[in-house]
Subunit: 403 residues, 2 copies
């Protein structure tokens, strides 16, 4: 596990953007130490947007949040998140629990119930300890603080080894500064089309709801939807965006969009680097594909290959597995025109291995970041897929998660 | 590793079907002990058929065997197989090596070159030690034996922990007995549409080439194409069928087809049980799907889920992962009408967990064979997918395969 030393050099922002405050508590939803319930409150109603899992067993809180956003027209005052229990596949009781938790938040904050968003992450198929949660909510609403980014990030962790938060600033139209703070949890079940990852993008900019929703969808598609840890998709994936407008101004639209995209991409990289059991980051870049879809298919197939990922775990330059993964896609290419390289070391060209580079190839596969570039020589499209190596530690973590 | 004791109670046939003989040698293609080159020779030209990998980086010997079957019209006298080197992604040299090896066999056996089939299995991107191989071939052709099934199965092993062979007999039309002997290697890179598995179905029945080809395709689709170990597809997968006709009679067509299908299914089960690092067999049966395609998609998605397979490795009844995997398929179903059970223990029904069965569920997930049944309540179609659990041992094997 090499993640702790990687985390140490990342600056964790301390203050939430203006207009937001948060509180956390230990309610006993998740076993072990640390808070497991988060209440985020905005001073005033915010522009709100979200992207949710496409899994058809979407959890009760996902269904409820989706409905609230539709009813409110994209306005929110509060967000309740918990770790340790997903409240998914919990039947009617799960729906009732999600409903009573948001009602309790609405009462404590003093807002319409449809302005409360909610999500859960953790084990599927178990009920929430709803009485303890509801008992904690009024206390949380009284205890919110603005310098609470670290606690916010920690309260939603499951098997994450470290909290994940990033900050971006852009100039405001009124001469001030717009802040964007992103928070995420990831680690397991992470895959394109989202998986148990939760992301939170908070800003004090003035933004229209529709603009925020479009930007969030685009940013998530370029970041969280381009990574995988184990190829599964969870019942609870979600990324929320809230804009308080407390800065009293908008940002330059292009600078703001770049900053949100960049924050999401950095969070996605943090998630991959902290993938369960990960020791190396693997980045698969496909260039010169005939179409974007084909570029994406090749990047995902190679990045999702267990054999490629175990080879990277072993620092083993078994690049034949990359070739085999490319070969089972439907992308158009001529086998003898493909070029494959790892950290700029050519591995495969002209239909065969590139000779005399065994030592360089071994060094590339043993790096902390292995960047595989595949040139299909079939067009102009490109795509990138982010993942991590697959280690024995991953299996140990996942073989014994509920028990 | 529980495979050795499982293997002990399986009867290994000793004699090849009439009309076949085989010889093996240690040429040093694969590191470690044991023979790594197999030459199988038929007394006379045989009806021959094969199914090959769909990977577009199909290895040089696959391309050659495909061409020979087309040129000969489905007639073969000899088959050359080696373990330790796949002769895949080896460029022009790979083509030349495959060509010179079959030429050498044709000379030694005394048959047209197009009656020689060839395949290789092992590391991709490395050249064969072709001189040593060609030097060994005349000796092999002189040393063939009929009681050589065990040696045949061992000479093609890579990370297999045990040789795999089965036998079936059916009555012949002339009052005698038709024998079918199946041999396979599997273990890694095993997946639907084949992966590095090699299968060999030998019989002394009189069979038309077209009948044999149709039967082989159908049998492979019901067996080898319904299993996975790691979801990758190899450059060298193949199943060969050869019918010597030495029994001097045909078998009853239905009994013969059943016997070939049954032999392939037993070989497929052996491959899964001996999946790299496997401690448990996982069988996912989907019933009441709207279409066969949807049944297959659900069975493959659940059977291919790393989270489901690691849960099974841990004997951990985390059935929520099964639900999450079903939820990311495109199959039609109503979430609250699906039923999921493991070894007949109901886990999920009416949109939520089945209460008070935690101990029974834990026992089911800790069994040597975990049979998950998913009833979609959406139609009449069904399918089954065979796989094994994903263990830390799998990662250890695959993290250090070439080096």
């Amino acid at each position: 596990m090499s993640t702790p030393h990687r985390r140490a050099d990342i600056m964790m922002p301390s203050r939430l953007p203006s207009g937001f405050a948060a509180a956390t508590a230990k309610v006993g939803i998740r076993s072990g130490a640390g808070d497991d319930l988060l209440l985020l409150v905005a001073d005033r109603p915010c522009a709100a947007a979200a992207v949710f899992t496409r899994n058809r067993f979407a959890a009760a809180p996902i269904t409820r949040s989706r409905r609230h956003l539709a009813t409110s027209g994209g306005v929110a005052r509060a967000l309740l998140l918990n770790a340790g229990c997903a409240n998914a596949a919990t039947g009617d009781r799960g729906d009732r629990d999600a409903a009573s938790s948001v009602r309790s938040v609405a009462d404590a904050v003093g807002c319409p119930v449809e302005q409360v968003l909610v999500n859960s992450t953790g084990v599927i198929g178990r009920p929430l300890p709803i009485r303890s949660m509801i008992a904690a909510i009024p206390r949380l609403a009284q205890a919110t603080r603005v310098d609470h980014v670290d606690a916010t990030a920690r309260a939603i962790m499951t098997t994450d080894s470290a909290p994940k938060a990033v900050e971006r600033t852009v100039p405001a139209a009124n001469g001030g500064v717009i802040r964007i703070v992103g928070v995420a949890k990831g680690s397991g079940m992470v895959h394109p089309d989202l998986a148990t990852m939760i992301g939170l993008v908070l800003t004090d900019a003035e933004v229209e709801t529709t603009t925020l929703a479009d930007l969030l969808r685009d940013s998530a598609d370029r970041s969280f939807n381009r990574l995988s840890v184990d190829g599964d998709t969870s019942t609870n994936d979600s990324v929320f965006a809230l804009a308080s407008g407390a800065a009293g101004a908008a940002a330059d639209p292009n600078a703001f969009a770049d900053a949100v995209r960049s924050a999401c991409l950095e969070l996605a990289r943090m998630i991959v680097a902290d993938g369960e059991g990960a020791s190396r980051v693997l980045e698969v870049e496909v260039t010169s594909a005939a179409t974007s879809e084909e570029a994406r298919e090749v990047a995902r197939t190679v990045g999702g290959s267990l054999l490629v990922r175990t080879a990277v775990a072993g620092g083993d330059p078994n690049w034949g597995r990359i070739i085999a993964a490319i070969g089972r896609t439907s992308a158009r290419f001529e086998p003898d025109r493909i070029r494959v390289e790892a950290n700029l070391v050519p591995l495969f060209a002209d239909g065969g291995p590139v000779a005399d580079l065994d030592h360089a190839a071994a060094r590339a596969f043993a790096s902390e970041r292995v960047q595989i570039r595949i040139d299909l020589d079939a067009g102009d499209a490109r795509d990138t897929h982010l993942t991590c190596d697959l280690t024995a530690e991953y299996v140990r973590i996942n073989a014994d998660y509920t028990t």
